[in-house]
C-alpha cells in the first residue's frame, strides 16, 4: 500500500479544518461550562478544609468504648506499625481560623512520635468493634487508619480537635472509607463539643466519623 503524497495529506487536512469550521458554534456552551466549573471549584474548598485538617492530624479520636477496649489490649506486641506512621504536614501558613487546630496538631506531633516508638497491638475485641463500625459506615476495604482519643468540636465548617488524652497510644488498624455524604450528614447533627470518633487514613483523609457516649475528655 502506498502512502499518500504530502500534497494529498495537506488537502485532506485542509478539508478537515474547513469542515470543522463550518460546524455551528454553541455560544452558550462556554458560559454554561464557566458557570458549572465555577460552581464545582467553589464546592471544593469546603472539602479541602477537611482534608487539610485531616492531612495535618493523621490521627483519629476514640471513644469511651475505645478506652474500655484498650484495657483489654494484649500486652505482648505482635506487630510493629511505627515505620508506617506518616510525618505530619507542616503547620505553617494555615489560615487564622485554623490556628487552634494547628496548635493542637503541634502538640500531637510530639505525642505521635513518642507513641510510635513502641510496637502497638490490637486486641481481637477492638478489631471486632472496628469492623462493626466499618459495616455501618464504610465501603472500601484495607485502608489504613490511625486512632487516638480526643475531643472534637464543630465550629461552623471548622473541625476543632482537642486531644484530651496524651497518654493513649496511637492505634492503627484497617478500615474502610466512609461515604462522604453520610459523614457530612452526621457532622451536621453534631452538638458543640460532642465527643466523636474520627478515623483518618494514611493519605490524610477522614475515612469515618462516628458518635460516642463520652461527655468530655477523661
Amino acid at each position: 500500500m502506498n502512502d499518500l503524497h504530502n500534497s494529498d495529506e495537506q488537502k485532506l487536512k485542509k478539508l478537515y479544518q474547513q469542515s470543522k469550521q463550518q460546524l455551528p458554534n454553541d455560544e452558550l456552551l462556554t458560559q454554561r461550562i464557566l458557570q458549572a466549573t465555577d460552581k464545582e471549584v467553589r464546592k471544593r474548598p469546603m472539602q479541602k478544609q477537611w482534608l487539610a485538617i485531616a492531612a495535618a492530624v493523621l490521627v483519629a479520636v476514640l471513644t469511651v468504648d475505645m478506652i474500655q477496649w484498650s484495657q483489654n489490649l494484649n500486652s505482648s506486641p505482635t506487630s510493629d506499625y511505627s515505620s508506617s506512621v506518616v510525618q505530619l504536614t507542616p503547620i505553617n501558613d494555615l489560615p487564622a481560623d485554623q490556628v487552634v487546630i494547628a496548635k493542637e496538631i503541634a502538640q500531637l506531633e510530639a505525642f505521635i512520635q513518642s507513641a510510635t516508638a513502641e510496637s502497638l497491638t490490637l486486641s481481637e475485641g477492638f478489631n471486632q468493634h472496628l469492623f462493626a463500625y466499618q459495616s455501618q459506615y464504610m465501603q472500601k476495604p484495607n485502608s489504613i487508619v490511625y486512632a487516638v482519643a480526643a475531643q472534637i468540636r464543630v465550629s461552623g465548617e471548622q473541625l476543632v480537635i482537642h486531644f484530651c488524652d496524651k497518654e493513649t497510644k496511637v492505634q492503627k488498624f484497617y478500615a474502610n472509607k466512609l461515604d462522604r455524604q453520610e459523614q457530612q450528614q452526621f457532622l451536621a447533627k453534631l452538638q458543640q463539643a460532642q465527643m466523636v470518633t474520627v478515623y483518618l487514613s494514611t493519605d490524610g483523609k477522614v475515612t469515618a466519623i462516628s458518635p460516642n457516649q463520652q461527655q468530655q475528655c477523661s
Binding site: 500500500m1 499518500l4 478539508l15 478537515y16 479544518q17 469542515s19 458554534n25 462556554t30 461550562i33 471549584v41
Partner: protein
C-alpha cells in the same frame, strides 16, 4: 488562514500547562477559566466533528468537570492540551458505548445555509460535504486517530491520548487517509 490560526494556538497551548499547574496549586477558578476560554471552542468542534453537536456539548462540559475532578493527576501528565483531549476522548467513547446510536453529524444540514453562493463556492461546499460524508464512513478508531493528527498532535501524543501503541496509531492514520482518498476519488468520478 487556518494554518496561521493553528500556529498561533500552538504557543498558547504549550503555555497552558502553567495555568493548569496554577489551578492545581491554588484551586482558584480563574486559572481554569483561562484554560476553558482558550480550548473550549476548539475542543467542542473537535468532538462535534465526530459526534452529534448535542452529544459533543455534553461531552465537552463533562470534560471540564473531569479536569477539576482529576486535577491532582495532572502533575505527571505533561502537556495540558493532550491531557484535556485524552479526557474528552475517553468520555466520548463512553458516551458512544452508552448511546450506540449513530451520533455523527450530517454535513448537508450544516453547510446548506449559505446565501446565493457562486459556482465555485458551490463546488467547494460540495467538496467539503463529500469529505464529511467520507469522514463519517471511517471506523471510529481511524476517525479519532486522523482527527487528532489534523488537530496537530504528534504520533506519541495521539498514542497517549488514545492509549494505543504508536504503530497502531500510524496504521490507523494510514488506513484512514487511504480510505478518505479513495472515497473522495469515487465522489469525483460520479
Amino acid at each position: 488562514m487556518i494554518t496561521q490560526a493553528l500556529k498561533t494556538l500552538l504557543p498558547l497551548a504549550s503555555g497552558s500547562k502553567d495555568e493548569m499547574k496554577l489551578f492545581v496549586d491554588t484551586g482558584q477558578a480563574k486559572w481554569l477559566h483561562i484554560l476553558v476560554k482558550r480550548h473550549q471552542d476548539e475542543l467542542y468542534k473537535f468532538l462535534s466533528h465526530q459526534i452529534s453537536c448535542e452529544l459533543a456539548a455534553d461531552v465537552t462540559q463533562k470534560t471540564w468537570l473531569k479536569v477539576i475532578e482529576n486535577k491532582h493527576k495532572y502533575q505527571s501528565q505533561g502537556e495540558f492540551r493532550a491531557w484535556l483531549y485524552q479526557i474528552a476522548r475517553n468520555l466520548m467513547i463512553d458516551e458512544l458505548r452508552k448511546n450506540k446510536a449513530d451520533n455523527t453529524n450530517e454535513l448537508s444540514e450544516l453547510v446548506s445555509d449559505k446565501l446565493v453562493p457562486s459556482t465555485d463556492e458551490l463546488a467547494h461546499q460540495q467538496q467539503i460535504r463529500d469529505f464529511r460524508q467520507a469522514f463519517n464512513q471511517l471506523p471510529i478508531e481511524q476517525r479519532e486517530a486522523i482527527s487528532l493528527q489534523f488537530e496537530g498532535f504528534s504520533l506519541s501524543e495521539i498514542a497517549q491520548i488514545t492509549q494505543y501503541p504508536i504503530e497502531t496509531v500510524k496504521t490507523r492514520i494510514r488506513y484512514a487517509k487511504q480510505k478518505l482518498q479513495g472515497l473522495l476519488a469515487e465522489k469525483n468520478d460520479e
